[in-house]
Amino acid sequence: MGRFLVRRILQGLLVMWLVTIAAFCLFFIDPSGPMSVARRIGGRQATTQQLHRIIHDLGLNQPLYKQYWHFLWGAPGRPGLLQGGLGRDYYFGEPVTHILYQAAPITFSLAIGASVLWLAMGLASGILSAVRPRSFLDRFFTTIALFFYSMPTFVLGLLLLLIFYFDFTTKLHLAWFPAAGYVAFSHNPWEWVHHLILPWMTLAVVSAAAYTRLSRSSMLDVLGEDYIRTARAKGLTERRVVLRHGLRAALTPIVTQFGIDLAVLIGGAIVTEQVFSMQGLGFEAVQAINNQDLPVILGIVIVASAAVVIANIVVDIIYAVLDPRVRLN
């Protein structure tokens, strides 16, 4: 297991390195020269003088490999990526890391809460459907899953807002759900949950639908195997058969899918943050694009990718725990 872990971490580092190269290429390379790059960073309104200053500050005139090195390690006065520096936001001069530091907890609360919810809902409904195929319960879950699976996240979010916030509050006079905002867990745990319920549901339901389908089909595959039939013949209770024997095998494709979905999760978070006006990473990213604020976007891309890579490593470890064959590879 140890060797597996080491190998996996090394792979992750390699991928992260490639990601930094990709990000660097995207932002700092332009066929028409350093002026265009500077313009991207400075924004549409930047004057020529400001552009020249940017070129000077960021060393955009230097050969590419040097620029990459500065980006990665840093130059005097400008800590690079590995030292925790991501440049400054070009409008308020605020260090990008600072912005990210404030925005990240919001996104992570959203993401982690939602994923727990969707895994729970998806697995539960999928397993229940698989255990009684073609029953009313099965048809019900499958139809609902299909319905929600076809709905974009933001549509769901807005509809939820419309019904639960607006209609409830104004027509039913039940101010149960807030419209927007975020309250930190450290301030007030109950309010934290209170404000996150609708966003969590928005983000979770669509994915839960996908996981219902996936776990239903995976579970059905496993329950059809001979060894399950043997377990039943041995006299084990149905519950034990399903949960202890069936689930373990059925979980593997789900874990794989979850790993892939982690990257999508951030995207879903972006949309949800927009709908509910929560100032997480996604929201900041969209702001940044409206302001043409490249350093912020660059920072978010790198941080988000790092989070995905780390989460993927965790997922792979879980996978290895579930399926010992993987460790031997």
């Binding site: 060797r3 597996f4 080491v6 190998r7 090394l10």
Partner: protein
């Protein structure tokens, strides 16, 4: 290409060795061992003859076949086809030789692409070598189908719509489409019902006469091999144990392993069966990862002596046999000798005990 006269050496394999490395390690995979699939095999095949190649599963016969046809690269040794050294040729250099040297595979269900129509499958050789196209190709494919006894109307069918025997015929049609000189049949009938086996074998015989083919016939069923082969080579654990004319092997097998194989062939007459001594070999074939020292057969051989543990016997004629009949054994079997009565004279640690493996794998 030369048109050799009957009797010329068509294929010569010299000291062919094929090892498959076993790798370990996570990032940088080092070779920690090797499977000695083929460990020094030399043989010749003459134009027009049929060389039978027998042995247990895992003895390396299929690997040898693939080395000869260069589906694998050789670890060392040479293969000469029609006078030319094809041991190290790259894919494009090999291509012209592939017209002359074809293979028929064992699994009628796996050797045909289930998603392609039969006409397309048999037409492949024509397409690959740019020989015929369009109507001309179709006509020739249908000729090939008739040659092997298939209905040319079934040109557009999928393999799934044919029986096992018919599929094997498709494979034969594909192999013979370009009229090769040498055909290697890798257990062509092992996966078929016995009644169908007879048909296919007869078909192969007829085709050999009709098209002047040379066969290497690989099988593990001795009775089948005896029927079709002019000469037979017996393989064990990557090396040739004995080689000679078919009847000599069956009547005067010199190697104890050959005798053991022969004694395992059932004979239809119950009375004859009772009278025969069964030579039962202990244990399984050792792992090719770590072959025994000296003569590879010594752990299971009823006649093993100390020389057998230390020296690997060369493949030469024994006991006054003609040059064409060679065996790799220090203490070959005399005619009439019953080796089920022999006892090995080597220490216990070198032997297989009652069905287990010794010190290998």
């Amino acid at each position: 290409m030369t048109t050799g006269t009957s009797g010329d050496v068509l294929l010569r394999a010299t000291d062919v060795v094929k090892h498959f490395p076993v790798r370990s390690g996570s990032i940088f995979r080092r070779a920690v061992g090797a499977v000695h699939a083929v460990d020094g095999v030399s043989l010749e095949v003459r134009q027009g003859e049929t060389l039978g190649l027998v042995g247990e599963t895992g003895c390396g016969k299929s690997t040898l076949a693939r080395c000869i046809t260069r589906l694998y690269d050789l670890t060392s040794g040479t293969v000469e086809f029609d006078g030319a050294d094809i041991s190290k040729l790259g894919a494009s250099a090999m291509r012209p030789y592939r017209r002359e040297m074809q293979m028929i595979f064992q699994d009628p269900y796996g050797s045909l692409n289930p998603r392609r129509r039969v006409g397309s499958i048999i037409g492949d050789p024509f397409a690959i070598h740019g020989i015929a196209s369009g109507q001309d190709r179709r006509r020739r494919v249908q000729e090939a189908m008739e040659l092997v006894g298939l209905n040319p109307e079934h040109y557009n069918r999928f393999p799934a719509e044919f029986s096992g025997g018919q599929r094997q015929r498709i494979g034969i049609a594909r192999a013979l489409a370009l009229r090769p000189k040498l055909v290697i049949c890798d257990e062509p009938v092992s996966a078929l019902d016995v009644s169908i086996q007879a048909q296919v074998i007869n078909l192969l015989s007829d085709l050999q006469k009709e098209l002047n083919l040379t066969y290497i016939f690989i099988a593990h069923d001795l009775s089948v091999v005896r029927h079709v082969s002019d000469r037979v080579a017996v393989m064990y654990l990557g090396k040739v144990a004995e080689i000679g004319p078919s009847e000599d092997i069956y009547q005067k097998g010199r190697h104890p392993y050959t005798q053991a194989l022969l004694s395992a062939v059932p004979v239809p007459d119950p009375r004859k069966m009772e009278g025969r001594a069964r030579i039962v070999l202990a244990g399984d074939v050792p792992s090719p990862l770590n072959p025994p020292t000296g003569c590879r057969f010594h752990p299971r051989c009823p006649k093993a002596r100390d020389t057998c543990v230390s020296e690997d016997p060369p493949l030469i004629p024994r006991l006054g046999d003609p040059p064409i009949h060679a065996a790799a054994c220090h203490f070959p079997v005399e005619v009439g000798e019953d080796i089920s009565l022999s006892t090995p004279q080597i220490s216990e640690s070198e032997r297989v005990i009652e069905g287990g493996l010794i010190g290998n794998a």
